[in-house]
């Protein structure tokens, strides 16, 4: 239990200087080979794991519904698929937004994610407020912060109208940055 204080034995007692150089060389070359072998295996692995960092998310326009199905002044929950759903993603690839029709021609699509920590905010129609269930963030109808911890307004998706249909452009979940 207390071997810890003992000095390690002299390396190769009685060895000639040539032998010592040779052993040094061998241990160095062995360590380098181990490093090389390890790198051959781990570099592709790291690349594989970190690939999502470097992938670009193409913004895809998703059709939400006919312009006529949204009333002016109302805010409605809409669903759409993310930009490149994997074949096995199923419902996990679904996304939602709060679509507000501000005028005959104009729409705003708010992200449902609270800018505090990303929880899904709920629209309270009669109070004209978005409320977050997690830590009590509140936003006005235009997405600006009304109360609570959120540091920024609700994020938005690009919206457009094409041939009578409202379309939302997908984008990554808004992450508040430092």
């Amino acid at each position: 239990m207390n071997e810890s204080n003992a000095d390690p034995p002299e390396p190769c007692p009685g060895a000639t200087p040539e032998e010592i150089t040779r052993r040094k060389f061998l241990s160095r070359i062995s360590l380098s080979l181990i490093g090389l072998g390890g790198a051959v295996v781990t570099v592709p692995l790291i690349g594989f794991i970190f690939a999502p960092l470097f992938r670009r998310d193409p913004g895809v326009w998703r059709t939400i519904g006919a312009v006529g199905s949204f009333k002016v002044g109302e805010t409605t929950a809409v669903e759409f698929l993310d930009s490149s759903p994997l074949p096995w993603a199923g419902i996990a690839a679904k996304n939602a937004a709060w679509l507000r029709r501000t005028s005959e021609k104009e729409f705003i699509a708010f992200a449902i994610n609270c800018s505090h920590l990303g929880c899904p905010v709920r629209w309270q129609q009669s109070a004209q407020l978005f409320m977050c269930p997690c830590h009590g963030g509140v936003y006005y109808a235009d997405g600006t912060v009304a109360a609570g911890p959120p540091p920024a307004p609700l994020g938005r998706y690009p919206v457009r109208v094409r041939e009578g249909e409202v379309q939302i452009q997908t984008k990554p979940t808004v992450i508040q940055r430092a």
Partner: protein, 477 residues
């Protein structure tokens, strides 16, 4: 005779493998004779880990880690598979036991000053194992791939996203892309099932090796401080004088306690089973109410209660500072008194930490900062009117979501102040100012309420008084 043959076979195998020759002396290493019941939490933690390995492997026989299939396979394990409900319960309560035991172990080691010279690395590897344990708890909750799991990933991504420079990358790494999707669950599966358990096996091995290398710390005596120059010799002399072989003199207590703990885990699993799954993992279902499991609920409360403006700094530096402080502890106090009788600040630190976590945990359980989305409606009895401005005001109070955050008797939320007797505290003019302008934690209703509506609301609030029939405060607020 058969037993003799068996005996001989066992002896042969043992001789050729060298099991008792290698492990025997290790198991019988000398331990201080008075290291008793306070010393059982470390082995109990390891035992809980083994429960997790066994129950986890069993669950992996049915669980399919795919965004589409995980939820149905969990339903199958919970409701159809023989022993499935019990097994998930075992894994859940085993995790809880492990977190609890790791906490107790750490508190004992800290209070006994066992992290001091020469056991600094025992403590540091222990701190890393604590981190791994919490990481396992969090990633494990995500593998319960329901609605709460999905939102927990988003919340995790938002938190790592706050880290300067690399935050965006870390968030993408967490989500496995720009949004929650097909790639998300598999990442956490690989981390929870291969990466972190692998690290834990390695670090538990190292941790045990260090226990053997430096010996089990003797219970401290006040007035016998650690002096690095003499400690090792003193410790060896102590073992020589009164040490007992770990096996079986000390080990029986570890085993008795650990087996008792397994009994409790199994009993809880049999009675309560696994935590019920939430709604399906569909990020487009907006009605969600994500909460972490109990061992992280206190941190959920921290995130809600941080003063405005500090959260950015805290979210990044809080956990990092806590971790670094724990790692630095043996360097801050490497020698000196070990006994907690001579270390009042150490005792205060433990009490403060436990109290803080307990209080935050209770707050997290109640979550008074969250709006109440389904408040009990105000009754005619509470309103005290069936027509007129008071009645109209009460209706507006519900419609405009005031009730989601404010309490009127036992109806409503607890986000804002209790307004049951607000007329005793605020004059009508002050009420109007607050309603119109809002505050830090209250929206301004000036643009959404018409003047007549504000009048009705104030009429209702004015009727909220202890002195029925005599509304309005007698003194100014």
């Amino acid at each position: 005779m058969l037993p003799k043959t068996v005996k001989r076979a066992v002896h042969w195998i043992d001789d050729r493998i060298g099991l008792s020759a290698t492990l025997g002396p290790v198991l019988r290493h000398l331990a201080p004779h008075d290291a008793r019941w306070w010393y059982v939490f470390g082995s109990a933690t390891m035992c809980a880990f083994m429960v997790q390995v066994v129950s986890g492997v069993a669950l992996a026989f049915a669980y399919i880690p795919s965004a589409t299939d995980a939820y149905p396979t969990l339903q199958f394990i919970t409701h159809d598979a023989p022993f499935g409900h019990f097994l998930r319960g075992l894994h859940y309560f085993g995790a809880s036991a492990m977190v609890l035991m790791v906490g107790l172990h750490m508190a004992q080691v800290f209070l006994f000053g066992s992290y001091k010279f020469p056991r600094e690395m025992n403590w540091i590897t222990g701190v890393l194992l604590l981190g791994f344990t919490l990481l396992m708890g969090f990633t494990g909750q995500l593998l319960r791939w329901d609605q709460t799991a999905v939102w927990s990933v988003v919340i995790a991504a938002e938190q790592v996203g706050r880290i300067p420079l690399i935050g965006g990358w870390l968030a993408r790494f967490t989500l496995g892309g720009g949004t929650v999707g097909g790639a998300t669950l598999n990442r956490f599966f690989a981390i929870h099932v291969f990466v972190v358990p692998g690290l834990m096996f390695a670090f538990i091995g190292l941790h045990l090796l260090l226990v053997l290398r430096h010996g089990i710390a003797e219970p401290p005596k006040a007035g016998e401080p650690v002096d690095p120059r003499t400690y090792r010799d003193k410790y060896q002399a102590l073992l020589k004088k009164s040490g007992r072989p770990f096996w079986p003199d000390a080990a029986w207590r570890d085993i008795a306690f650990a087996v008792g703990m397994i009994g409790v885990i199994a009993l809880l699993a049999a009675i309560f089973g696994a935590p019920e799954l939430g709604k399906p993992p569909d990020p487009s279902i907006i009605a969600a109410d994500p909460r972490p499991d109990w061992y992280l609920l206190w941190y959920f409360a921290v995130l809600a209660l941080l003063p405005h403006g500090t959260e950015q700094v805290f979210m990044v530096f809080g956990p990092v500072t806590a971790g670094l402080l724990l790692i630095a502890l043996p360097f801050i106090a490497p020698s000196g008194e070990r006994s907690f009788r001579r270390r009042p600040w150490a005792v205060a630190g433990v009490l403060l930490t436990v109290t803080a976590i307990a209080v935050l945990w209770i707050e997290g359980e109640k979550s008074p900062w969250s709006p109440n989305f389904n408040p009990k409606p105000l009754t005619a009895g509470i309103v005290g009117a069936t027509s007129g401005p008071v009645f109209a005001g009460a209706r507006l109070f519900q419609e405009k979501s005031c009730l989601n955050c404010h309490l009127i008797q036992d109806c409503g939320g607890r986000r804002g102040p209790d307004l049951t007797f607000i007329a005793d505290k605020l004059r009508p003019s002050d009420m109007i100012i607050r309603i119109v302008n809002g505050g830090v934690n209250m929206p301004a209703f000036g643009t959404t309420l018409k003047p007549g509506e504000i009048k009705d609301l104030v009429a209702f609030l004015e009727s909220r008084t202890r002195h029925m029939g005599a509304p309005g405060p007698t003194t100014s607020p």
